[in-house]
């Protein structure tokens, strides 16, 4: 009570007081919506999730590349680079950038589109250098000491003339020259598919199982909950690992694996809710009026426990997304060339010394998505059940 601001105790002018007193009363759902909209992180999260869904569904359509298109000549290109401009005779200049990790020069245009790999002369293996001829200028790429540098004919080091974003591959390319952005978008598709399936499974199996156990009660409840207890003793990750070993990697297997064990928490929550609700008077009233079991369950008990159900759903989505990326990371997820955020990260770990951009983007994508779902879950919990507010 101590945190009521002093100005809150001030007397309102009569007109305002009348407005406050006459404010229309809100239904439960109107109130929920109002509270949710007042929660900034939750609103931003909803916007992010909608954008992510749109990007995952339509994004790949706008790209000339697919997740499997390889271009080994343009492998490991960063998302931003320092460009050099060299006169190449007849008043033209050639723009290019130096990939400091694989000592290749790539030609770019002045807006940052990657045109291709520049061919140099034979590499001088002994001096660790390679000559490149542009019209009448000759440059030498000297990589005998790191970082590699470009040297003009008179021995002076050439400084980069500018800096540019990569317009062809916005997020760069991976070690096989595949577009990282497109692969990320496909990763988003996979994560969202998994999230969707986990939600469906929770919604149908979890609610059905928990609702039935809670409603019937007695011995049936005891046995059903023992089964849940046995399943819940081991972390779900272990089951998913076992199932993935049996099914062999692939998108469908991971969906089946996650779906087959992911309803346990929901079943417990729903059972608890039903158990506490079914002794309420209105249930007894409905039964006296001759309502059938299924009617009592679907029209009385479930609608009244919808709050915790929705909260649990949003809390389970990030953990489903996490398990998929985790499985993919340890090599049990989707099969190449399909990309998931987990496989993208684990592939990037091998090359992160030279090409950190390959690690950064998938790591950021999964983290942001997890943030969004977590904030949304917190927001929904606060909005649906004000008692939880802290």
């Amino acid at each position: 009570m101590s945190d009521i601001a002093p100005e809150m105790w001030e007397k309102l002018p009569p007109a305002d007081a009348a407005a406050v007193a006459a404010a229309p009363s809100l239904t439960y759902w109107q109130d929920v919506r109002r509270r949710l909209w007042a929660n900034k992180p939750a609103v931003v999260s909803i916007a992010f999730i909608i954008l992510l869904i749109l990007a995952a569904v339509f994004g790949p359509l706008f790209s000339p590349f697919t997740y499997a298109d390889q271009n080994l000549r343009l492998a490991n290109i960063p998302p931003a680079f320092e460009t050099y401009a060299v006169p190449s005779g007849q008043g033209t200049t050639t723009r290019f950038f130096l990939n400091a990790s694989n000592f290749n020069l790539y030609e770019v245009d002045d807006t940052g589109h990657v045109l291709g790999l520049l061919r140099g002369e034979r590499k001088d293996m002994l001096k660790k250098s390679q000559a490149f001829i542009f019209g009448d200028t000759t440059l030498t790429l000297d990589y005998s000491s790191l970082p590699a540098k470009l040297v003009a004919a008179d021995g002076a080091t050439i400084a980069p003339s500018g800096w540019s974003w990569n317009r062809t591959y916005l997020f760069g390319t991976d070690q096989l020259g595949r577009d990282v952005l497109v692969r990320q978008l496909y990763g988003a598709r996979i994560s969202l598919t998994v999230a969707f399936v986990a939600t469906l499974v929770n919604f149908f199996i979890g609610i059905f199982y928990g609702g039935l156990a809670g409603y019937i009660g007695g011995r049936t409840d005891a046995i059903m909950m023992r089964v849940v207890e046995i399943i819940a003793t081991i972390p779900l990750t272990l089951y998913v690992v076992l199932l993935m070993v049996v099914f062999d990697s692939g998108l469908y297997s991971i969906i089946i694996a996650i779906g087959s064990v992911f309803w346990v928490d929901m079943a417990r929550i729903v059972r608890g809710q039903i158990l506490s609700l079914k002794s309420q008077d209105y249930v007894a009233a409905a039964r006296t009026m001759g309502a059938s079991t299924s009617r009592i369950l679907t029209r009385h008990l479930l609608p009244n426990s919808i709050g915790p159900i929705i909260v649990t759903l949003t809390m389970l989505i990030p953990s489903a997304i996490f398990i998929e990326s985790f499985m993919s990371f340890i090599g049990l997820g989707v099969t190449p060339p399909l990309a998931s955020w987990g496989t993208l990260t684990s592939e990037a770990v091998e090359t992160m010394r030279a090409y950190p951009h390959q690690l950064f983007f998938p790591a950021a994508a999964i983290s942001l998505t997890m943030f969004a779902f977590n904030f949304l879950g917190d927001g929904l919990r606060d909005a649906l059940d004000p008692r939880f507010r802290k």
Partner: protein, 309 residues
Amino acid sequence: MPAYILQRLGMMAITLWAIVTLTFFLMHAVPGGPFVSERMLAPEIEAALNAKYGLDQPIWAQYLSYLRGIITLDLGPSFKYPGVSINTMIATGLPVTLRTGLLAVIAVVALGVPLGIVAALNRNKWPDTTVMLIATIGVAIPSYVIATVTLYIFALRLGWVPTFGLDDWRGYILPVFALSGFWISFVARLTRSSLLETFEQDFMTTARAKGLRPGQVLFKHGLRNSLIPVVTILGPVVANLITGSFVIEQIFALPGIGRQFVLSITNRDYTAIMGITIFYAAALMVMILIVDLLYAVLDPRIKLTSAAA
């Protein structure tokens, strides 16, 4: 109490049996035998291998002999490394996993609880906002992302810690941090909210009214009553640290059980997968039992009876 422990042990035995049975039949449902590989084996050799490992017997006989093995604590031989038993595999990996896991649990308690206290004491002021911001980030970022990104920053870029191995104490920092990051954040959040709830209780007002020093009020009355939910989640913490270690041990190349497990998965070493899963399950159930018993010791109001189970 003894009756309660007995009942719990009985339940554990049933659960373990269910898990053994499940893993056994799952692993035998895998298409192709354990010796199917790119190299074609001569039929005689395959028959000899099958006979050596008892795979020529009917499935129920194999199942019974596997169960017999479990009871005598023998998890059987590895199919991929001749002469290596699963017991040795676990025994070699256990010290590493145990050490990092224990350090991670210590980090969770030693960092998570104080952070939560600081946040609760400074409610809605900057320390609270900072802790909650960090905790929110920590809960959302997957452990393997923390591991890889910190590895890149602190080991590759700054060179403060080695990139792999446990040769000196600095090698432990990143794995333990990556392993415990989520749970430090989670425990900080939990401690904060539980402490705030306790602050509103009448006995706290009484304690303050009696004129106790703030430290006494906080530690003797506040903290003791708000740590119960924290103790409760220590069971799941252990479970999570175990599964988290698969990927952490792989990233940091630590020779623990988690890495062994991931390796067995990639090698399709079915007996190893089975054995390590069962080991994990057993270890986990023992941990959860210990936590439950601890719970009753900390809070005398909780009585462990068979009915409560």
